[in-house]
Symmetry: C2
Subunit: 344 residues, 2 copies
């Protein structure tokens, strides 16, 4: 074990074991913070909020000021890409609503030229980098192609993904063309994020877990590997964290075949599996249950000890296994910060 | 490989490898069938529909008449148990709605005496047994305690299970008392189902996949093992199928520790894992993607070949990995029946 490196997150992602794990939390900038809710009131809608650099930079920084996480994550949304490609995207109370694309309508209305709409994101990144403490890493992100495609094809969230999976089963080539287009957009978007100052990239494949073979290989492994390869060509030193949520026993294959530097573990990945089969290949990130954070008290303490005990002797970035829930008391996050500085 | 036994499902569940896998489908009695929708119109609400033996028996038999599956599954609902225990349960358009129970309110309004409300279910079973062809097995079922508890505590479906998981984290003993009560009710209910003519039992733990340790062990493994032990004491010859949906790498532990005779595989359990690590311990059931059935055509054919190829050389009951979707064309089920009679 080494002492505190200049940027603990980068050290862990490069394979180092640290004496206390560096940490950040998915959705650490969000509705559970009163200062977030106050700022959110300044934008007419969620998309405007994401695309106004002063506001997006400020909410990115809020949790760092309050809790001192080792990384900030860009405040944005994975659906900015379909919107930039020309699809209509609205954020409503019940979730996002998109004008769904389909094999009939095809991809002809989607244009990579529209990606210039994402320029404000790069300005947000530059602003955040100027403000962050030297030891704090800035993480950029995008949705992985399968997950973004589900929203584009279903027109929003879904329980069973009949349209997206149905398209993938019925017309593998047509669906691959959609994934290729999203991949291309994602590579361009992430390259610009890195150029603007993002030091790590996370790919969120929130719905990776619903795909059996052969779709998992085609829609999750293939496009992720392609994005990683292209980014590594230009930015070999920028670590990439993959989050194939729900991949279960297929985490191992994902770690082997995609080229990511680290995998983010969802809440139910068994710690022994992560230690024995994943941590030898890649760094791991995770995987506190957001409900344990919401609950606090001894449940939170026991869960933190458990994760540090199992994974702390290898490369680990401590995080949740899913995002912070809006009803989480901020004091529980403060308690977590304290727990993570204590020896176990 | 053996020829066709008298009851193919029972043969497979006892560990035999058959030359063609016996089959049935989760939710094979349901809205995708026009004859189901016609009959459903005869009951004022879904609970009355489940508790009217003439209607419930008829919908149980409908798919057998049309497609000749090797098993019928009792038409009922896992929420009949909380209702019988005294909780208010309503089925609405968006899903079930229950008056949620909580640690404050406690369990004092829940009474095992209320289980007599389930008597019509046993009459349904007796009626179905009289009508079924000799080679067709009748499967009874219940929800597993964790899954039933989620509905009882959340008051309906949930995305994150904050109330149920929160209770389990905060007050392990209180939550265990709830699971014990549900387990006790479930054992009594299933014993009566077997006495009435159910030849196999399936335990549906639809939300097993959301629990990390230590909750998975406490809420899924423990209560399931307890139910299996009690049923086996009185009915040692009745096979029990466990369905810990979403358990991923923990299927192996579930197969080892619960005492079930077979595990139902969800859609994303990798076939090699099922073959190498599960089929040597228990029979397996599954795991066609309902979206492949909905899609039909060559996607359906390829998926069937894939599953039979991987799992057909061990004890296998062919099934879906989740229920039939309401929008599934009945002709696709007929095509599946045909595919399953063909040699591969």
């Amino acid at each position: 074990m080494a002492g505190e490196p200049l940027k603990p997150i980068l050290a862990a992602l490069s394979g180092q074991t640290l004496s206390r794990p560096p940490w950040w939390l998915m959705r650490q900038a969000g509705r559970y913070l009163p200062e977030y809710r106050a700022l959110r009131a300044n934008a007419a809608n969620f998309i405007e909020f994401c695309l106004t650099p002063t506001l997006a930079a400020e909410v990115t920084l809020q949790p760092i000021r309050r809790f001192g996480m080792d990384a900030a994550i860009l405040f944005a949304d994975i659906l900015l890409i379909p919107r930039a490609l020309g699809q209509s995207v609205e954020f409503r109370e019940g979730g996002p609503v998109l004008e769904p694309i389909s094999p009939d309508k095809g991809l002809r209305h989607l244009r990579l030229e529209g990606l210039s709409a994402l320029d404000p994101v790069y300005e947000t990144i530059a602003r955040v980098r100027r403000e962050l403490p030297a030891r704090t890493t800035l993480i950029g992100f995008a949705g992985a192609p399968w997950t973004v495609a589900t929203y584009m094809v279903e027109g929003g969230g879904s329980r069973d993904y009949p349209a997206a999976k149905g398209w993938a089963y019925r017309d593998p080539d047509g669906f691959a063309a959609l994934l290729d287009l999203i991949s291309e957009a994602t590579v361009r978007y992430l390259a610009r994020q890195i150029e603007a100052g993002a030091e790590v990239i996370q790919l969120f494949d929130s719905w990776a877990g619903v795909l059996p073979e052969p779709l998992f290989g085609r829609c999750v492994i293939g496009p992720t590997r392609s994005i990683v390869q292209q980014l590594k060509q230009h930015f070999p030193a920028t670590p990439i964290i993959g989050f194939p949520r729900g991949a279960g026993p297929r985490y191992e294959r994902y770690a082997d075949e995609t080229g990511v530097d680290a995998v983010a573990l969802d809440t139910v990945v068994p710690l022994e599996m992560a230690r024995d089969r994943l941590q030898s290949r890649v760094a791991v990130q995770g995987n506190l249950d957001p409900i344990a954070l919401l609950t606090g008290g001894s449940a939170l303490e026991a869960a933190v000890v458990r994760i540090r005990g199992a994974l702390g002797s290898g490369p680990l970035v401590f995080n949740l296994g899913h995002g912070v829930l809006p009803q989480t008391p901020p004091e529980h996050v403060a308690r977590l910060a304290q727990l993570l500085t204590e020896p176990i």
